[in-house]
């Protein structure tokens, strides 16, 4: 499970001065449930997820991932997290199998376990046809499968997806959303970020709306609809964001 407590990240920018990319964000994600971070570009989704995956260090606050503190034990956290985003590319000159094996080894799997795990994943994802093909020769769909295999090789209890369907065609995007559901059904803790309303409506058990680095509201889809008196999630989103702006101006 994930327990974020007052996560904050400030960057220094030469032109704009200090930027609060993420500002005191707290939330909890439960195993077997999908938490969706919904927000516009630049809202702080990626920074939040990168902090949870310990790729970035928070300026303030912390989070517990599988009981490990992301500031104190970042390596422990990474070994129980699978991280997938459109930015996480594959090594072009490794074959699909070599790539998955590499990440298995970095996760400390011994060779026997690794072989079994790799065979299992390649069978399950129907990847045996391009096992020995170099990643730079794979189609987008094959690349996505290889990325999924990479995040699964150490069987992590927590999955973090940062806009995983960004720029993908419908069919490839469906592979990803199906995979996200499968993770939930297998009892994993899943958090994913997107700015696509329909994905959130279809997938998420809990929705958090993030804007300007702050988590403005959260709840199940039904709770949000009831709270803001709108059926359409997009309308809910606009209401939340414009309420925030009129508050901060006042």
């Amino acid at each position: 499970m994930i327990d974020a407590r007052g996560l904050s990240k400030r960057f220094r920018d030469k032109k704009r001065g200090e930027i609060r990319a993420v500002d005191d964000v707290s939330f909890t994600c439960q195993p077997g449930r999908i938490y969706g971070l919904l927000g516009a570009n630049g809202a702080g989704k990626t920074t939040t997820l990168r902090m949870l995956a310990t790729i970035l260090e928070p300026t303030d606050g912390t989070a517990l991932v599988c009981g490990h503190d992301i500031v104190e034990r970042p390596e422990k956290v990474r070994s129980c997290v699978g991280f997938l985003s459109t930015a996480t590319a594959l090594y072009p000159r490794l074959t699909a199998q070599e790539l998955v094996e590499y990440f298995g080894r970095l996760n400390g799997l011994d060779e026997a376990t690794l072989k079994k795990r790799v065979d299992d994943i390649f069978n399950r994802l129907d990847m045996n046809g391009f096992r020995d093909r170099r990643c730079d020769k794979l189609s987008t769909g094959m690349k996505q499968k290889t990325s999924i295999a990479r995040t699964l090789v150490h069987d992590p209890p927590v999955m973090i997806f940062d806009e995983p369907t960004l720029g993908l065609d419908v069919m490839t995007a469906r592979t990803i959303t199906a995979f996200i559901r499968e993770c939930r059904d297998n009892g994993k803790t899943v958090i994913f970020s997107t700015h696509v309303m329909s994905e959130v409506e279809k997938l998420c058990d809990t929705i958090g709306i993030i804007h300007d680095g702050k988590l403005l509201t959260e709840g199940t889809l039904a709770e949000l609809r009831a709270k803001y008196g709108e059926q359409d999630l997009e309308e809910v989103f606009v209401k939340v964001v414009s309420a925030y702006h009129s508050n901060s101006e006042a």
């Binding site: 390596e75 422990k76 990474r78 072009p92």
Partner: protein, 401 residues
């Protein structure tokens, strides 16, 4: 630090590196082909050009001398010179290579000789033009022989033996062993080449493993794996160091083979070949290599750090290309005659190693400076590696945008 993880990163980077065609070119092909092409190519070209120049019968213009038919006649009978009729624009003809040289015979030359009046025979040629020099040399030789003959005749006419002109001989003789001779000629070059190539060999992998990784978007992937950033940078560093050493070793081998072939090919006169031959044993090569090792560590760490700042391949290239000049300048400085190792220079990185390699190849081992240089370079290398590891921990560098 986890050796298993470092090894894991190293093996993966090695696999990727070996599969890159650019690697083959920059690390294997260039060092292997550069030396044979450069040395054998240039020297045999020079030999061919000189041979051609020597074979040519130069056209020589004789100015004046109508009143000295004896000399003129002798000149005409020479079969290695072609005498052409005098014209007004002889200077232009030399410049434009229509003739190779001109010789001016003073008025009443023959008469002056008979009266033992000193005269000057002037030879005109184009300096720097090898065929013109050859022509002028032949004319000069002819006149010197002619003069010697006249002296001989005059002496014998007075019954004086020819040895009176040479009461004693003066000669120079070399006592330096052959490796010292070749050391002076090549020692600087050898050290310089090892240093330069261990640097150029590291540039490409340093970029590929840092800025290249950012550009391809794999940086975020690898950072999300449990490996610590220290292990990651050490694994990458090991590969860059290997590449640098591989380039240096391959070029050393290639250089040795080229010299050996050149010496045997007979393309050069035996004297030149003796100077060019590497009289360098394996211990010397190993010593040079040992001295260059901490320097290669320094290069690998510095290049890795700088390349990490770049966002893209191109940006990294524009940072690292000037580095080549920074390395070339001290290395070239050590090749200058008269630049010798002093305790102060022994602390200047690159220059010190270059100088000490020159000494080692020449067969001189100053143990104090060797120790000082090795240790100081090790300190610089360790500092650079420390900076590289620290830089890899900085988010602002890893995610620079």
């Amino acid at each position: 630090m986890n050796l298993h993880n470092i090894g894991c990163v190293y093996r993966k980077e090695l696999t990727e590196w070996l599969r890159d065609r650019r690697t083959l070119i920059s690390t294997v092909l260039i060092p292997l082909l550069l030396f044979p092409l450069m040395m054998v190519g240039f020297s045999s070209l020079a030999v061919i050009m000189i041979g051609k120049a020597e074979k040519e019968t130069p056209k020589i213009m004789v100015l004046g001398g109508e009143d000295s038919p004896v000399v003129l006649q002798k000149l005409r009978t020479l079969d290695n010179l072609e005498i052409v009729p005098a014209t007004e624009d002889w200077k232009r003809k030399i410049s434009e290579k229509e003739i190779r040289a001109a010789v001016e015979i003073p008025k009443n030359f023959q008469a002056s000789l008979e009266q033992s009046k000193p005269e000057t025979v002037q030879i005109y040629f184009y300096e720097g033009e090898i065929k013109s020099s050859f022509g002028a040399n032949r004319v000069e030789k002819f006149f010197k022989d002619y003069r010697d003959n006249i002296i001989k005749n005059r002496l014998s006419a007075r019954n004086i033996p020819g040895s009176i002109l040479n009461p004693f001989e003066v000669k120079q003789k070399n006592v330096a062993p052959p490796e010292k001779v070749s050391g002076a000629a090549l020692g600087g070059l050898l050290g310089y080449m090892v240093i330069l190539l261990s640097m150029t060999g590291a540039i490409y992998p340093a970029i590929d493993l840092t800025a290249g990784e950012k550009e391809r978007g794999t940086m975020e992937t690898i950072l999300s794996s449990p490996i610590s950033r220290m292990d990651l940078v050490l694994g990458k560093f090991s590969l860059v160091l290997s590449a640098s050493l591989a380039t240096a070793i391959l070029s050393l081998i290639s250089m040795g083979v080229s010299f050996a072939l050149l010496g045997k090919s007979g393309a050069m006169s035996s004297k030149d070949a003796a100077v060019m031959q590497l009289h360098i044993g394996l211990p010397t090569v190993l010593a040079v290599f040992l001295m260059a090792l901490p320097l290669a560590v320094l290069f690998a760490a510095v290049l890795l750090t700088i390349a990490l700042f770049a966002k893209s391949y191109k940006e990294a290239q524009s940072y690292l290309t000037p580095m080549t000049f920074i390395v070339v300048i001290p290395a070239v400085a050590s090749l200058m005659p008269g630049v010798e190792l002093t305790p102060k220079l022994a602390l200047v990185p690159i220059l010190n190693t270059s100088l000490v390699c020159k000494d080692i190849v020449a067969g001189t081992y100053h143990w104090n400076s060797i120790a000082l240089i090795f240790l100081s370079t090790c300190v610089y290398a360790a500092a650079a590696l420390f900076v590289a590891v620290k830089t890899f921990q900085r988010e602002s560098v890893l995610f620079r945008s």
